[in-house]
């Protein structure tokens, strides 16, 4: 999360919102302290690396789903879609002998196309996304099983590692990790100082230098801490780098482009958005298309994590993704939410699952705890979210 884009100085916010923003970090800290006390292994470099890989899958999908939640839509089909796209790539590699990069690329394009079609269907026919994507869930699931013939298809051919299998098993070398971290920090500093210079040029209020310096310094330390911990195990996981790239891209899209403004405008008040000249249909279709690409990426990572494509890949992932967004303060009515929030939500969900697995909590109880945490988060949001 520390590589999210170049933030312009944060806007002053009403105090109710800042209470709300403090709840999630507090909840996360509580969960981590609890698990650390109950299980010493929780904070081990090895487990934290595993947690980062698990987080990568959930969080990437959550960030994608955010794109359609912001304009007030939803998507129940992303779990099945992830399974389908992962399965397609696996079949192309394992049974047809395609090279992994080509198989992933083709499957990625299939993802974009399917979700562009889904978005078009929803926009043109004014069908509720809930129903349309429920249909997508069932259809994608069926097609997925057809594609893999309801078998177990490894992501490798003849057991040789390829780009596909490396998605969740490759770790950056310690040196590469540090180099990447240094590059990211340098980029942050560059963007930050450029934004300050621009603001000063137009006579806008600029954050105190000390505050900006402190923020950048803390971010840099966070990045360094992540690399340090990872390097004590095998290095920075490739999947985590993928998550950071996707999250940065979506953050930039939502916060720093007219497209992103339009997403918030549509979700906040669609009728007013239309009158204001926002291209509502086009924006929603693009959001679904981008989601399709992210669904494919998630599917690749999840399938690679398991090692092969089986009928259960992607099950319930859509709910985890939506839950992560909601825990992170996204409104299901649209118009409110952020990438940072979705990442926090995903981290809470992933930490819960990881910690409970370490403690050998029964699957039954795992479901119940996750459900209760979701309900609690929504309750907190309603309780403290009102202005």
């Amino acid at each position: 999360m520390t590589t999210t884009a170049p933030a312009l100085p944060a806007a002053p916010r009403p105090s109710a919102a800042s209470t709300r923003e403090l709840i999630m970090p507090a909840m996360l800290a509580l969960i981590w302290i609890l698990f650390a006390l109950l299980s010493p292994q929780f904070l081990s470099p090895r487990n934290l690396s595993m947690l980062m890989i698990e987080l990568s899958v959930t969080a990437t999908l959550a960030v994608g789903v955010l794109l359609v939640l912001l304009p007030g839509h939803t998507d129940l089909s992303v779990g099945a879609g992830a399974g389908l796209m992962g399965g397609t790539a696996a079949v192309l590699v394992n049974q047809h002998g395609w090279s992994a990069p080509l198989a992933l690329l083709v499957s990625f394009v299939v993802g974009l196309t399917l979700y562009a079609g889904l978005g078009w269907f929803i926009v043109k026919n004014r069908i509720q996304a809930f129903i349309a994507t429920l249909g997508g869930l069932l259809t994608f699931k069926g097609v997925f099983w057809l594609v893999i013939q309801s078998h177990t298809v490894p992501v490798t051919r003849d057991g040789r590692d390829n780009l596909y299998s490396l998605l969740t098993t490759y770790y950056l070398s310690p040196a590469a990790g540090w180099a990447l971290a240094a590059a990211v920090v340098a980029l942050l500093v560059f963007l930050q100082s450029r934004a300050r210079a621009r603001r000063r040029a137009i006579g806008a209020r600029v954050e105190d230098f000390e505050v900006a310096y402190l923020k950048t310094f803390i971010a840099a330390q966070g990045i360094a801490l992540v690399v340090l911990v990872c390097n004590q195990f095998r290095g920075v996981p490739l999947s985590f780098v993928i998550l950071c790239a996707v999250a940065t891209a979506v953050h930039t899209l939502t916060r720093h482009t007219p497209f992103g403004r339009h997403l918030y405008a549509i979700g906040g008040n669609e009728e007013a958005a239309v009158i204001s000249g926002v291209p509502v249909g086009k924006t929603v279709i693009i959001a679904f298309t981008l989601l399709g690409g992210i669904v494919a990426i998630t599917g690749f990572m999840q399938t690679a994590y398991i090692g092969n494509s089986t009928t259960t890949v992607g099950d319930l992932m859509e709910l985890d993704a939506i839950a992560a967004c909601v825990i992170g303060g996204t409104s299901l009515k649209g118009g409110r939410g952020s990438v940072l929030g979705a990442l926090f939500g995903a981290l809470i969900m992933a930490s819960l699952l990881n910690g409970m697995t370490l403690l050998a909590v029964s699957p039954e109880l795992k479901f119940i705890v996750r459900g209760l945490v979701l309900a609690f988060a929504v309750w907190m949001d309603v309780r403290f979210g009102k202005k």
Binding site: P12, P14, R199, G260, I275
Partner: protein, 523 residues
């Protein structure tokens, strides 16, 4: 004998406005008592006070039912006392059948279950009693507006209401439906039901009512027997006020708004920026036309006022031209010299036409978002030619309009939902003006804002015309329309009822045009 319903010295204030001043009013059993008045005269407030929507304690004065003091704390209380209100906005559940709607909230039961057989039989009987030819099985969504109105009345009667309040019941009805409705109201009168009847259609009022009360500016001006009231008299009572110099229409003013010319000389009229010829439009492809054969033109530097009664099609006309309402059935529109046959809001804004809607909370603003987000929303494409938002272009633009419009708020980051009505309206105006339009549509731009903010809006209109823009102003308030317009087109039931130049402005004439010149027909 006590009147059925009586109001004594009612005064009802809202923050900054006295909506009713010392109004006394009574309704006898077996009487139709009409309420007349301009939009904003206090009719709706009176009804809401009588029916408990403005609860007991929120007004001064007293309400008596059968001579006994009534303290309605909600509409439910009022209904329990035998009162029923039928609003213009229908309160039917579209997906339910006629019978289900009639008994909604008063279901026919057998034990814990709904007795559908009896409900449908009773509904059929009720409908038959009023000779309404409707199948109780029909889903309400399949009914026309008039039929829905009748279902509403039957629903009210099922509750054994003795006092029926009808708010503009015939505004949306076709001739034959009006006839059925009037017949039913007369039949009810014969059974002793008292009826408060609100209508802008004075001919209808005069032929139906026993007595007529005229409200103006929240006060009851007079109550006369219908037999003694001729329509010109009623109109004179309705209008009756003198126009103070509240409307500073000033043709030669210098522009100080961002993006304006600095010359201060109005662009000479003659070059019309928007021309509409024989325009007809309907809500959707199947419906009959709501706007028929409308023609007008607006020149640079001119304010064209559009007036008319509620439901005359003023907002629909603006929204249609802008691309946000209806389907064009015919006619030609020219914007800035080019034909503009298929408007969409986005394209309109690109071509320099912008709409400030009447309903600013629903259509104008993103209430949860900051002022800056709202101001620049329509101008993002123009301000950001590249892929990314260019803060160095956006923030100064926002700042300029924030300052020029004197929006009273801590800063651009302040969330719009917490602003006063006047400041919210300035944000909507700023959003529209930032698009650098040539033609500005203003739909009720001063509704619900205080006098000071109104004046600022009027000055803004002057500045726009001084910059050579064309303004189309829709307003329900005749004094505002007459004060601010260079020309006025009055709409009547979706058609042009009359066009007036400034030297022809005259409240009686305008109102008569809005009413389809009934005074000459029915008077």
């Amino acid at each position: 004998m006590n009147p059925l319903l009586e109001a004594r010295h009612l005064t009802k204030s809202f923050p900054g406005v006295v909506a009713l001043r010392d109004v006394s009013f009574d309704l006898r059993a077996g009487e139709i008592h009409a309420l007349c008045g301009e939009n904003g005269a206090g009719k709706s407030t009176l009804i809401k006070t009588l029916s408990g929507i403005h609860p007991f304690g929120s007004y001064e004065g007293e309400i008596l039912v059968d001579g006994k003091r009534a303290e309605f704390r909600s509409l439910r209380d009022a209904e329990a006392a035998g009162l029923a209100v039928i609003y213009q906005e229908l309160a039917l559940v579209e997906e339910m059948s006629v019978a289900e709607n009639i008994f909604l909230g008063a279901e026919r039961r057998r034990g814990p279950w709904v007795d559908w057989d009896r409900a449908y039989a009773d509904a059929a009987e009720l409908l038959a009693r009023f000779r309404i030819e409707l199948d109780p099985d029909t889903p309400v969504r399949d009914l026309g507006v008039g039929q829905k109105q009748l279902v509403e009345i039957v629903k009210a009667l099922n509750k054994r209401s003795r006092i029926l309040i009808l708010d503009e019941p015939t505004a949306a009805l076709a001739e034959h439906e009006v006839a059925i409705l009037l017949r039913i109201v007369r039949e009810l009168r014969a059974t002793g039901v008292g009826c408060i009847y609100i209508s802008h259609k004075l001919g209808e009022v005069k032929s139906l009512a026993d007595r007529i009360t005229v409200l103006r500016d929240g006060a009851s001006i007079t109550t006369l027997p219908a037999a003694e009231a001729d329509i010109p008299t009623i109109i004179r009572h309705m209008v009756g006020r003198e126009i103070k110099d509240l409307f500073p229409r000033n043709v030669g003013q210098a522009a100080s708004l961002p993006g304006g010319t600095t010359g201060g000389r109005p662009v000479s009229s003659g070059s019309s920026l928007l021309q509409v010829q024989n325009l007809s439009a309907s809500p959707d492809a199947e419906s009959p036309a709501r706007l028929q054969n409308i023609s007008f033109a607006v020149a640079a530097g001119e304010v064209l006022g559009i007036g008319g009664l509620m439901g005359a099609g003023r907002s629909e006309l603006l929204q249609h031209l802008f691309g946000a309402w209806g389907v064009r059935q015919g006619g030609e529109v020219t914007l800035g010299g080019d034909a503009y046959p298929e408007p969409t809001p986005r394209e309109s804004i690109r071509r320099g036409l912008v709409l400030v809607t009447e309903d600013r909370k629903r259509l104008g603003l993103h209430l949860e978002q900051p002022i800056g987000f709202n101001l620049s929303l329509s101008s993002l494409d123009r301000l950001n030619p590249g892929t990314f938002l260019d803060e160095t272009a956006e923030e100064p633009a926002n700042r300029r309009f924030f300052d020029a419009l004197r929006i009273k708020a801590p800063g651009l980051e302040t969330v719009v939902g917490g602003l006063s009505g006047g400041n919210q309206q300035k944000v909507v105006l700023g959003k529209a003006l930032m698009t650098e339009p040539q033609v500005v549509f203003l739909d009720e731009p001063t509704r619900g804002i205080d006098v000071g903010a109104k004046l600022e809006v009027y000055h803004l209109i002057n500045e726009l015309t001084a910059q050579g823009k064309a303004v189309v102003l829709v307003s329900s308030e005749l004094p505002e329309l007459m004060g601010m317009s260079d020309r006025i087109v009055m709409l009547h039931e979706g058609r042009v009822g009359g066009e007036f130049t400034r030297d022809q402005f005259n409240q009686e004439a305008l109102l008569a045009a809005a009413m389809g010149n009934q005074s000459t027909v029915a008077g």
